[in-house]
């Protein structure tokens, strides 16, 4: 892996028939960075993310994630990344403990490590009293915090978060971001999508996809300066209004 670069994408492209979902995107993400991956619905974020996670083969271009090639080493990618989305994160009909050991097992931790990680994680989240509760019975804010902790239980090089805070109450949303900061301070790279523009401002750098391309990529501060506006919301509106595609 090139020193300090967790993602290197060059001209990464995905076509479905005549439709180009992701159109020659190039970017790099540094170790420990919080990288915001924004775009309107249908801009191509999910497709790009699936390629980076080793779940979908690119049509052309190159990319490496955590030092592994997305074409040849996609199995190694899956072992070295964490993933969490708003839509799917935990098994509702398993308990808190069962979810932790299930995922930790999948990520290849042995029994001793699982035991150790479970107690550490429950203590951090102050969830000891709920270890035997079904995940279904937890408030959404707790679920999402648990899901995030589980997604990084194997200390991955990078964690992909797909709209992790949708629908979460404003205090829990901020607690969630504190966890993101803490993980990033530990050297875990964060790759996050969100529709909350205030959250975009918490990122080290932000890319904005429009119609399959990356139309802007910089720190929130520089983006706002370059667009001559005072919030990321306005940056986003200026760019996304140019989109030709019908939203997904």
């Amino acid at each position: 892996m090139e020193a300090g670069k967790v993602i290197i994408a060059k001209d990464l492209t995905k076509k479905f028939g005549a439709f180009t979902a992701v159109d020659h995107i190039s970017f790099e993400v540094e170790k420990g960075e919080i990288f915001g991956f924004l775009g309107a619905n249908g801009a191509g974020k999910t497709t790009a993310m699936r390629m980076l996670c080793g779940l979908s083969l690119p049509t052309s271009g190159t990319a490496s994630v955590a030092g592994f090639d997305v074409y040849k080493e996609n199995e190694s990618i899956k072992k070295n990344i964490g993933y969490m989305s708003q839509k799917f994160s935990l098994y509702e009909d398993l308990t808190v403990n069962e979810n932790i050991s299930f995922y930790a097992g999948i990520y290849g931790l042995d029994d001793d490590q699982i035991r150790e990680k479970t107690s550490l994680l429950l203590a951090q989240l102050e969830l000891e009293g709920e270890r035997k509760s079904l995940v279904r019975s937890l408030p959404l804010g707790w679920k999402q915090k648990l899901a995030f902790s589980i997604a990084i239980v194997h200390d991955p090089a990078i964690v992909f978060l797909d709209e992790p805070t949708g629908g979460v109450d404003p205090i829990a949303r901020r607690e969630f971001w504190s966890m993101i900061y803490a993980a990033s301070a530990k050297g875990i790279t964060i790759f996050v999508t969100t529709h909350y523009m205030d959250e975009a401002e918490y990122c080290s750098r932000v890319s904005i996809m429009v119609d399959g391309r990356i139309d802007a990529l910089d720190s929130p501060k520089n983006l706002m300066k370059n667009f001559g506006v005072s919030s990321m919301d306005d940056v986003f509106l200026q760019l996304a209004r140019k989109a030709q595609r019908i939203g997904d």
Binding site: G39, A40, N41, G42, Q86, R136, S137, P139, L140, G141, E163, G166, G167, V168, D169, P170, I171, A172, R174, W177, Y181, A185, H195, Y196, M197, D198, A200, E201, Y202, P220, K221, S231, M232, D233, F236, L237, A240, R241, A243, I246, G247, D248
Partner: protein, 306 residues
């Protein structure tokens, strides 16, 4: 006459041995032609309330009426006059766009042609795909079709349960512009959302959390009710700055808001000096401190803490 009346509605669910109170005695009323927003996170009880008002769920106790009709006794009359867009996509995935709309028109004894004017603005955007199956549509198009189907029988009251969840900032703006045009036609709208910034687009809002209304008011008055002076602070070192502010005994709350942290104190005097004192005790660069007016999210968090 109030178009929607909700009086002390209680709804409990039983999950195994545990009883969960989804709605713990909720009361409010919505005027004719008003856009009323129920603002609150997942699990606040918004969907239960929508299902009770659209006569799909019975409350344990309390009274509710829509357009003057009792949700229990007159449920058939209510069903004829309300449009409901559930949070979960609930159209027929194996029917085409046009077939879905025709179906919903037909069960209300009307036709697309008869009420086309009402849905035109929304439906025309998906009409190029009218022969595509609804299950094959993208999220944004599904949302437009669902709204068309909820409107095709010319309802007097529209219930929209989290129509903008997972929708990007641009599409959300467009969706709200559309709601304001529907309001102009005299339709009363009850809409729920987890996005606090959408509160300002409603005539009045109810802030809801854990089955209880925290406040019911115009967005302007909710903001005016905010008790504390509020300060925004930023520096190059945001995370250590937040830790330092939070651990100061004079501070009541400190929450990140984009590029700034919003801070309130236990006392409203000399807050600026207090912040400057905290800053002087650390190594911060490019510090900026400004007094600000609260937004709805500040108010919501303050009410949650009470």
């Amino acid at each position: 006459m109030k178009t929607i009346v909700v009086e002390n509605i209680i709804k409990k669910y039983r999950a195994g041995k545990v009883e969960v109170e989804a709605l713990g005695g909720v009361s409010f009323a919505v005027d004719q032609g008003e856009i009323f927003g129920l603002i609150g996170p997942d699990g606040a009880g918004k969907t239960s309330l929508f299902r009770i008002l659209t006569t799909l769920l019975l409350a344990d106790s309390g009274f509710a009426s829509v357009d003057g009709f009792d949700v229990v006794k007159d449920y058939k009359k209510i069903r004829n006059r309300v449009g409901y867009m559930p949070g979960k996509f609930s159209l027929y995935p194996d029917l085409t766009v046009q077939e879905n709309l025709e179906f919903f028109a037909a069960i209300f004894h009307t036709t697309i042609k008869e009420n086309y004017e009402l849905v035109k603005e929304i439906y025309s955007q998906i009409e190029p795909f009218k022969d595509r199956r609804a299950g094959q549509l993208s999220g944004g198009m599904k949302q437009k079709l669902a709204l068309s189907c909820a409107l095709i029988h010319k309802p007097t009251v529209l219930f929209l349960d989290e129509p903008t969840t997972g929708v990007d900032a641009v599409s959300r703006k467009e969706f709200w512009e559309m709601l304001h045009r529907l309001k102009m036609q005299g339709i009363t709208i009850l809409v729920s959302t987890a996005y606090m910034d959408e509160a300002t687009l409603c005539d009045r809002v109810g802030l809801i959390q854990k089955g209880m209304l925290l406040s019911v008011n115009t967005p302007k008055d909710i903001i005016e009710e905010f008790q504390h002076s509020l300060w925004a602070i930023k520096a190059n070192e945001m995370y250590p700055l937040m830790e330092a502010i939070k651990s100061d005994p004079a501070v009541m709350s400190c929450y990140p808001f984009g590029q700034y942290h919003h801070v309130t104190f236990n006392h409203n005097e000399n807050n600026k000096e207090e912040l400057e004192r905290i800053v002087e005790n650390g190594n911060y660069t490019n510090v900026e401190i400004i007094p600000i007016t609260a937004n709805v999210e500040d108010c919501f968090m303050a009410l949650m803490k009470e």
